[in-house]
């Protein structure tokens, strides 16, 4: 429960990103190399000529720890890291949530159909999923991203432009389909032979109605448990892709892209990479802990342990 509250706090913070940006008066998407802000009555430039080493390049402003602006300092284009962190978090959360929905819809449909109808349908669907399954997740995701990143996707009337956030959603949504479809198919296979399904067949209930009315309600607990766990996985995958610049495209931000921005500043301004890293770690951990708790709460065996029917 604490994990859920922690995660909801992160979500709330990210949702308030535009509020922070307006309040702090910063634009997180355009570079402001020559901006000057006031700290304690003194004018401070957000970028300073570097004095270390050979004296080349600029070092962005460090954390001011003032809620006004540049709370976490600036990045190498003079943009407010805090504002970017919140906006990036919003993208990370949206992408992982949308990809979770997509994975669950595709995976559940495939698992239901393969498990219920069996035979050739099952063989074809399962072998196709096995092919997806055979690729390492990141290899498949990276390949798909590289193929689609330049031109986007255009299938029939549906066109997704190359910079769109839908691109990572679809890629992440697809690569995890076998991980959902397999356990669902297994459950459907055993439900398929349960007496209440036989009873429905005996009543002459059509197959699609049995799937929808009899089988689906009996796998909803599994699906509910999948949601936070899938979301945590998707968040990690999204960050990885964005870090490799094949996920979210600039000027949009996500936690992955901010880490990449921070990579060059690791020695002088480590906070730029650390802040989104910590945000990812906390969110993923909160989701996993919540998912485990949910599983324990919904598992029918644990109900028996509590002495309920």
């Amino acid at each position: 429960m604490a994990a859920l509250i922690l995660f909801l706090l992160i979500v709330a913070a990210c949702l308030s990103a535009p509020l922070y940006a307006r309040w702090a008066g910063v634009d997180p998407f355009t570079s402001t190399l020559d901006a000057v802000i006031q700290i304690d009555g003194q004018d401070v430039p957000v970028m300073e000529q570097s004095t270390e080493g050979l004296g080349l390049g600029y070092t962005p402003l460090g954390p001011t720890w003032r809620l006004g602006n540049y709370f976490l300092g600036a990045d190498n284009q003079g943009r407010d890291v805090m504002a970017r962190l919140l906006y990036g978090g919003l993208n990370s959360l949206l992408i992982s949530a949308a990809a979770t929905v997509l994975t669950l819809i595709l995976g559940t449909s495939a698992g239901l159909v393969a498990g219920y109808f069996g035979g050739v349908t099952d063989t074809v669907l399962s072998r196709f999923l096995d092919i997806l399954w055979a690729f390492p997740i990141y290899l498949l995701a990276i390949s798909l991203s590289i193929v689609t990143i330049a031109q986007g996707i255009s299938i029939g009337p549906i066109t997704i432009e190359s910079g769109s956030l839908w691109l990572p959603v679809i890629i992440i949504g697809i690569v995890y389909v076998p991980y959902v479809a397999r356990p669902i198919r297994g459950q459907v296979l055993s439900l398929r032979n349960s007496e209440f399904v036989l009873a429905a067949i005996n009543l002459g209930v059509p197959g699609h109605r049995i799937l929808w009315r009899d089988i689906l309600p009996n796998i909803t607990t599994t699906l509910i448990v999948f949601v936070p766990l899938m979301m945590a996985l998707n968040m990690l995958t999204e960050s990885a892709l964005s870090f490799l610049s094949i996920g979210v495209q600039p000027p949009d931000a996500s936690w992955g892209t901010i880490i990449q921005d921070g990579q060059a500043l690791l020695y002088t301004r480590p906070i730029v990479a650390l802040a989104p890293g910590i945000a990812i770690a906390i969110s993923v951990m909160a989701l996993n802990v919540f998912g485990d708790g949910l599983r324990d709460a919904l598992d029918p065996r644990s109900k028996v342990r509590l002495g309920r029917d």
Binding site: L198, A199, A200, L203, G204, R209
Partner: protein, 331 residues
């Protein structure tokens, strides 16, 4: 033609019906093996009667029941419903038949979807097969609930909120929702307490009178079968070994297996001199994977002779209405 119009035409008939299951693949250690779960079963059920089907656990009773309602595909022989061959009809073309041929399952807690309200479960066949409106369905469900002895406000409950007997009443309500002609009862009372068994058996008898139902009543409890059946068939290892009118078979069982089964029914001893001889069978039921040669009962039969080991007896009519599959029947 005249036979087709005969009112005595059986409602359900099986001709040498068989069900084989394949076990394993050709890659498994013992290769691909075939189990004859049901073998050469020829039965007839007449309109309005109850045919009892008895046998030990694992003798193929439930498999036969599921073949009769075409939940399993039949691999051998024929299944006729009112003279029409329905052995290999597709699932979709069976749908009209489902209205008239229903089944009650053994374990009501397994055969009722735990996630749906019982009113919804009983309404399901009405929604699929009839064009009744929502109000019409609710009214019919209320009627059915009353008919099986449940209260109208029970419709909103979930199956787990009922006792075993009440759950079986829901299962029965669902089976009779479409006014079927024949109901296959697969051990409908075996999962229930003895006191509740009697209530359900009485309910089934009442419904039979009211709705002019025919039953196939499957059980391993002979005293229950005796009470409800007009005729009974005794099953051993997938085949029928004896068939006849209920009183006849119970009074003078002709097959050694029936004799052993019937001698095992506990009775209240009224006079000490009236003690019956208890026949105790030795050994276990042989595996249907490797059925014995000749008569399948010979390894356990107290009167088996050499002929039984080599020659399989056919189910023959020895007296009017009495069929026995034995070389040495006691009638």
């Amino acid at each position: 033609m005249s036979e087709e119009m005969n009112t005595d035409q059986p409602i359900l008939e099986t001709r040498a019906l068989g069900k084989r299951f394949s076990i394993g693949t050709r890659f498994s250690s013992e290769g691909r093996r075939v189990v004859h779960a049901v073998d050469n079963v020829s039965l007839t059920v007449r309109r309005g009667e109850t045919l009892g089907l008895v046998g030990e656990s694992g003798c193929g009773k439930s498999t036969l029941a599921r073949c009769l309602v075409r939940l399993y595909d039949i691999t051998d022989g024929q299944l006729l419903f009112e003279g029409n061959d329905v052995t290999s009809k597709s699932l979709a073309s069976l749908r009209p038949l489902r209205r008239r041929l229903q089944m009650v399952f053994q374990d009501p807690s397994a055969s009722l979807n735990p996630r749906r309200r019982v009113g919804d479960l009983v309404a399901e066949p009405l929604r699929v097969h009839t064009k009744l409106s929502g109000a019409g369905i609710r009214q019919r469900v209320a009627e059915l609930f009353e008919l099986v002895g449940l209260l109208p406000d029970h419709v909103v409950r979930y199956p787990h909120e009922f006792s075993g007997g009440q759950r079986q009443r829901v299962g029965i309500a669902r089976a009779i929702a479409l006014n079927p002609d024949l109901v296959v009862l697969d051990e409908p009372v075996s999962a229930l307490d003895v006191s509740v068994q009697a209530q359900i058996v009485n309910l089934l008898a009442d419904l039979q009178d009211k709705l002019k139902l025919s039953y196939i009543f499957i059980a391993h409890d002979l005293s229950v079968v005796r009470q409800v059946s007009n005729r009974i068939a005794v099953m051993y290892l997938g085949s029928i070994v004896e068939e006849g009118a209920s009183e006849d078979v119970f009074a003078t069982p002709a097959h050694p297996y029936s004799q052993a089964l019937i001698s095992a029914v506990p009775v209240v001893e009224t006079t000490p001199s009236g003690r019956r001889k208890r026949i105790i069978l030795s050994g276990d039921v042989p595996s249907p994977l490797k059925p014995p040669s000749g008569c399948r009962f010979h390894p356990r039969c107290p009167v088996a002779q050499d002929r039984c080991r080599t020659e399989r007896p056919a189910l023959q009519e020895h007296k009017t209405g009495r069929k026995v599959a034995c070389h040495f029947p006691t009638i």
